[in-house]
């Protein structure tokens, strides 16, 4: 019996999110929760203790340095998830037990909940606050377990989780490619991309100049949040609104309001 060594072309999956198209409907959040078996919020959960891999944030021109006095106030919505940082990925180097790593073949920053200690150091390290901790045991109402996605293992209490571009879908694409005698899974679509009604999220391989993300990134109106940190996020954003791009060009939050908790 002989074995054949197959080599796969390394990919760098990423996204370009068009903020101007996002309506803030939250379909991406729901699709993500259903795909990744996120349990309903705990009875004592707050906005900041729930588990979500994508959150929709509101941008206000009032907080942008690009908005002058007397100009009309504007708002925009934007899904925010793990940015899949490429350079010196902040969460990878800090994890004490190698529960976070970058997959060399897909470029996806992977989280291994079964190895996670729950120290939350990676959450401190993440500049995008894109990680969630399971503060309580995940619980589904009776009967709802039947709706769980069998391709994704539910996570237990006390571990961190994050968006992994629907790794289960990539695995399924790989399996299908293998069955067809191919080594390369090619294109696949994460749940949030599929659910977006306005096609605001474009997904693809940054290594492929013909991919939708590479095409979208060619625009000067495409940017990344916190670009100066140098982590080279693979999720980028697009907007024709100068006030949004001006907001991205500056660093920290403008002193406007604070949120108390506890």
């Amino acid at each position: 019996m002989s074995t054949t060594r197959v080599t796969r072309k390394p990919r760098r999956y990423g996204m370009v999110i068009d903020i101007d198209r996002c309506t803030g409907c939250g379909a991406c959040v729901i699709a993500c929760a259903a795909e990744n078996n996120l349990a309903p919020a705990h009875s004592k959960a707050t906005e900041r203790t729930g588990v979500t891999l994508v959150r929709v944030v509101t941008l206000s021109s009032a907080e942008s340095p690009g908005t002058g006095f007397g100009q009309p106030r504007m708002a925009a919505y934007m899904p925010l998830m793990c940015m899949q940082c490429e350079h010196e990925t902040p969460c990878v180097s800090v994890c004490p037990q190698q529960a976070v790593e970058v997959d060399k073949l897909s470029g996806i920053v992977e989280q291994m909940p079964q190895r996670c200690l729950g120290c939350r150091y990676c959450m401190t390290a993440c500049p995008y606050h894109a990680r969630s901790f399971n503060w309580a045991d995940p619980q589904w109402p009776a009967g709802m377990e039947a709706t769980l996605n069998p391709a994704v293992a539910p996570r237990m209490r006390g571990v961190v989780e994050k968006c992994d571009f629907c790794q289960s879908r990539l695995n399924a694409a790989q399996d299908e490619a293998a069955m067809n005698g191919q080594s390369d899974p090619g294109a696949y679509t994460p749940a949030c991309v599929e659910a977006c009604a306005t096609n605001a999220i474009v997904f693809g391989d940054w290594n492929d100049p013909e991919s939708p993300v590479s095409q979208a990134a060619a625009s000067v109106e495409t940017f990344a949040w916190l670009e100066k940190l140098g982590t080279q996020p693979k999720v980028r954003f697009h907007s024709r609104q100068p006030w949004i791009r001006a907001m991205a060009a500056r660093g920290g939050a403008a002193p406007a309001k604070e949120v108390a908790h506890g």
Binding site: S132, D137, A256, H261
Partner: protein, 415 residues
């Protein structure tokens, strides 16, 4: 009948106390311990709730992932620096005056580190996986180094403390225990070197925990080779404040027991060393702050004013940390160590408060500030379970120290 039982207990207890030692009567000792026991029991219950149900009992959240417990850890580990540093001074640099308090210093360090590990076990989401760090260590993570060194150093402190226990009046009657204790005592210089090595690294790595956070420009620092500036600042601040904490502990014990346990020579040495190192720390911290505000932070896209525009974290906290609770205590420590060593308590306490404030800023202010321009500044106040567990650890330390003081010779020159 009850009287007979009580008399028997008193008789047995008397035999456990060091010969010729003056200790309070048993009922008075029990009354002293009672509130601490109660506090410890409440802390245990709070810890039990967190272990049983999960960390939703705390007020930490996805933005404020470190809270009171991590602050406590960082602060008491810095205070515990007095153990390794006084051991280093006594056994390696031959500052024999410190022999008077070395056992108390070792116990203080042991309790600081044991308390830190107890709290860490509560703070992590999956405490039963703690061994994973040893099995799958990420050698690039500062937390790996902290975990390795703290675990090893706690073991070293336990070994260092063992001879003191073996000198108990009843244990001394066992010849093997006496010989074992003596052999351990001979190993002390080696243990002091090992302890100093381990302590240097984990004190530094605790600072490195924050210094390497590229995604948190408030905490991120450039440095030397793989170590950010905070690595060295934490070492310096720990060895500076460790002797001060020993002054505080010894003075408090003297006050409570109404006996003198250390002479002016001991306080002079501790005060002078603490003062000198604190001045070096304040200078280094000032240089680091200037470099950070003018170079490191702007390169990340953040201007200095942004960090201090949020109340209550104004610039006052920076000046209080460096000048009010850094430079001033250092000057008074040096002055009183030359003139009136009995007055070293207040500046030593202020120095401890300064380093605790530094750990608070590193932990809490780093979490409170948002990096994203559209995110908000967030605040946090601990839940009763967090506070109870925090106080429970302090109660644990007081109970163990009190029992050790009563039944062992913690101070060589008590009179």
């Amino acid at each position: 009948m009850a009287d007979m039982a009580w008399n028997a207990i008193v008789a047995v207890e008397r035999k456990l106390k060091p010969r010729d030692a003056v200790r309070c009567p048993l009922p008075q000792f029990a009354a002293w311990l009672a509130p601490w026991m109660l506090l410890f029991a409440v802390g245990l219950y709070a810890g039990f709730l967190c272990l049983r149900d999960g960390l939703y009992h705390t007020n930490m959240d996805n933005r404020f992932v470190f809270g009171l417990w991590i602050f406590l850890d960082l602060a008491i580990i810095a205070f515990g620096g007095g153990a390794f540093f006084s051991g280093f001074l006594l056994y390696i640099l031959r500052r024999r005056e410190l022999g008077a308090i070395i056992r108390s210093a070792v116990l203080t360090g042991f309790l600081c580190y044991a308390g830190a590990l107890l709290v860490l076990m509560l703070d992590v989401g999956q405490p039963l996986r703690a061994w994973f760090t040893f099995w799958h260590p990420n050698t690039h993570s500062m937390l790996t180094e902290v975990t390795f060194c703290i675990s090893c150093y706690l073991l070293v402190l336990a070994i260092e403390y063992l001879p003191t226990i073996l000198k108990n009046r009843q244990l001394r009657r066992i010849p093997q225990a006496l010989v074992f204790g003596w052999e351990l005592h001979r190993m002390m210089p080696v243990l002091a070197i090992v302890g100093a090595f381990l302590s240097f690294f984990h004190q530094g790595s605790l600072g490195g925990l924050y210094g390497v956070l590229r995604g948190r420009p408030f905490a991120f620092r450039e440095g030397f080779a793989i170590w950010p500036a905070t690595f060295f600042l934490f070492i310096l601040s720990a060895i500076a404040v460790g002797p001060s904490f020993l002054i505080v502990v010894t003075r408090v014990v003297e006050f409570i027991t109404r006996r003198k346990h250390a002479g002016g020579d001991v306080y002079r040495v501790l005060g002078r060393i603490s003062g000198i190192l604190l001045i070096v720390y304040v200078l280094a911290k000032s240089v680091d702050t200037i470099v950070w505000l003018n170079s490191t932070s702007p390169q990340s896209g953040f201007r200095a004013w942004e960090y201090y525009a949020w109340e209550p974290f104004g610039t006052w906290i920076l000046f209080l940390e460096i000048a009010g609770l850094g430079l001033l205590p250092a000057i008074f420590l040096l002055y009183f160590s030359r003139t009136r060593p009995e007055r070293l308590f207040v500046p030593a306490l202020a120095a401890c408060a300064g380093v605790a404030l530094n750990r608070y800023v590193q932990t809490i202010q780093t979490q409170a500030l948002s990096t994203l321009p559209f995110d908000q500044f967030v605040t946090y106040s601990p839940s009763w379970q967090e506070v109870a567990a925090f106080l429970g650890v302090i109660a644990f330390a007081v109970i163990v120290y009190s029992a050790s003081y009563r039944y062992l010779n913690l101070f060589a020159r008590s009179h």
